[in-house]
Symmetry: C2
Subunit: 355 residues, 2 copies
């Protein structure tokens, strides 16, 4: 079958011909419809994140997928069911984190990640998965369902932020998303749809006209150009933010965010930067965290509960939003094109089939 | 009546003679038994934290008190009731935070703090307080009740930490307290008494023999000398910590703590440092927060719920602990002595009266 993979020692996606997988006991065989591409996929190709499956000289890419059950193989599914797979799998023997349905908090070394860490991804005509890692989605998600996975990551981050503020009556009104990439825009759309955030902002570094700025403004949010207003200045120039969501992977942002937060505010950090030395006024930042009850939360991955929540969020997005977000749909033969970046590109998808 | 205060332009505690306060409607008059001294009191004396009451050329010190209701003045109390006062009071008109019983999350400018920010403290023969800010305590707290306030601050910090981990099954085993001052030792005793923390550590920078190290070890915890093992090295030298409680006010600790935490760990920050510029590998710290779901939470002050919880914690402390913790009890005439620091001094108290 056709698959899009990166080969050891190379740094570009290639169309490869690999054997169609056979589902083992407890696994279903899924016919892939669409697989989304995000920053992590680029890092996998560049070799800066994740790693190849043991003994394999290639890694099939992709961790944001939607597909149709082709062979339920005795699992709870029926042929034709639309499903979205989760990403993490146990490394070796199943552990307590997986047993509890919380692989997203499993520590390093106890998990693999499909398409990222030591396991093949979903960018192939078919994939197999244990049924417990397949989340059923309604048929109307056949084109957009690959967005359930990235949205689920933000569901988790927002759930953690809410939980961290649960000991008191938190009444957030303002939210800032750092980063106008696809994850930033998806999260902005989620925050706009919440009843509590009356004012939303999204920070980027793009000149107008720009399709991401158009989306930000069509969502009713305010675009903040980081070249004009730094994260440290946002509270003064705009307003202090009750919630900040960081998706830039630019390390200074995660510390400057302390100054952007309102009293009792919380920031969820999702970016994954490389090493980066810089100077901070750590005394001021520490004092600000303490005296204003502020919080910084790191968040990675997500579990089935967050996938379920993501289905609700995705269903609530206006059609125009997902249409404008997805700027390119390519067949696997054109996968290289799907991995190209540029000012007109927001979210791209490799499409293997339709429902 | 006698009171211990600091005068404008001076930087030492003095015995002053001030009018006995008259309770207003809704307020009770309290006869003070004991008032504890902590780092904040020293900052108030030095003029680096808080501020004088409007129009007053002196400020009565002290915010950790226990006393006896002398005149209930129509409130829910009876004469002879033992009470502990909370610290924050509305600045001007009562606001929503106070109405909800959550003055501890009220933003700057909306509150005063008795003995700290713009209001007289409790270090006087009598004080008045609205009944809602007086927490009844049992008679056996007549000598130790002044510890309810500092313990309540840690109750809040630990409550926040637990809440931040509530979205998943957090099973903490190891805890590290940064700082072997009185607040650090009180918190260590609280953590030792929890069922979950099997191993506890306390970091300081003192040579043996030292009374704080004796207490740490008698509690069953491990003393970590920061001159031998830095916060960044704790995870390697000892073990990664599920919970870190920071009470040193040394800003680098709050950032190095990210490295001390175990996956899914959380740090509560309570120190209040001055400005302090330094360099960090912010990329590494940011990445570590994200990929391991770590959290940093600032926490200040506490509310009546935390005072109630603190009563339970205080009752559970072994007698030897509070006896060793309190290294000096002084009459108000010797208040200067109570404010002296030194290697043999842990927690000191000004005693106005006994039950």
């Amino acid at each position: 079958m056709r698959a899009v993979a990166v080969r050891r020692g190379e740094s570009g996606p290639q169309l490869v011909d690999v054997p169609k997988p056979d589902p083992e006991s407890g696994e279903a065989l899924v016919r892939t419809l669409r697989v989304g591409i995000d920053g992590t996929d680029h890092e996998v190709i560049e070799g800066t994140h994740g790693g190849f499956p043991d003994g394999s000289d290639y890694q099939i890419l992709g961790h944001e997928a939607v597909g149709v059950v082709a062979d339920p193989n005795g699992t709870r599914f029926e042929a034709g069911d639309l499903v979205v797979p989760t990403v993490r799998r146990p490394a070796g023997e199943p552990n307590d984190y997986f047993a509890r349905g919380e692989p997203d908090v499993a520590p390093d070394g106890t998990y693999l990640e499909r398409g990222i860490v030591g396991a093949h991804g979903y960018m192939a005509e078919f994939f197999t998965s244990p049924a417990e890692f397949l989340v059923p989605v309604p048929d109307e998600f056949s084109e957009t369902g690959f967005l359930v996975e990235p949205v689920s990551n933000s569901e988790k981050a927002i759930e953690y932020a809410d939980a961290s503020r649960s000991p008191f009556e938190w009444q957030p009104k303002s939210a800032l998303v750092l980063g106008n990439g696809p994850l930033g825009l998806l999260t902005l759309a989620m925050l706009v749809n919440r009843d509590d955030f009356e004012r939303t902002y999204c920070l980027g570094r793009r000149d107008r006209p720009d399709p991401t700025i158009d989306i930000i403004e069509e969502l009713g949010a305010t675009y903040v150009d980081s070249r004009e207003t730094s994260v440290s200045e946002v509270a003064n120039v705009h307003e202090p933010m009750d919630f900040v969501y960081e998706a830039t992977g630019y390390a200074p942002h995660s510390f400057e965010t302390i100054r952007a937060l309102a009293p009792n505010g919380v920031a969820a950090l999702l970016g994954i930067p490389g090493d980066h030395m810089f100077e901070i006024d750590g005394g001021d930042l520490h004092r600000e965290l303490v005296l204003q009850n502020k919080a910084l939360l790191g968040s990675v991955n997500s579990n089935v509960r967050h996938f379920e929540a993501a289905k609700e969020s995705l269903a609530a997005f206006p059609d125009w939003f997902t249409e404008k977000l997805v700027t390119g749909v390519y067949p696997p033969e054109n996968a290289e094109k799907a991995f190209e970046t540029g000012d007109g590109v927001i979210k791209t998808v490799v499409e293997f089939d339709t429902l």
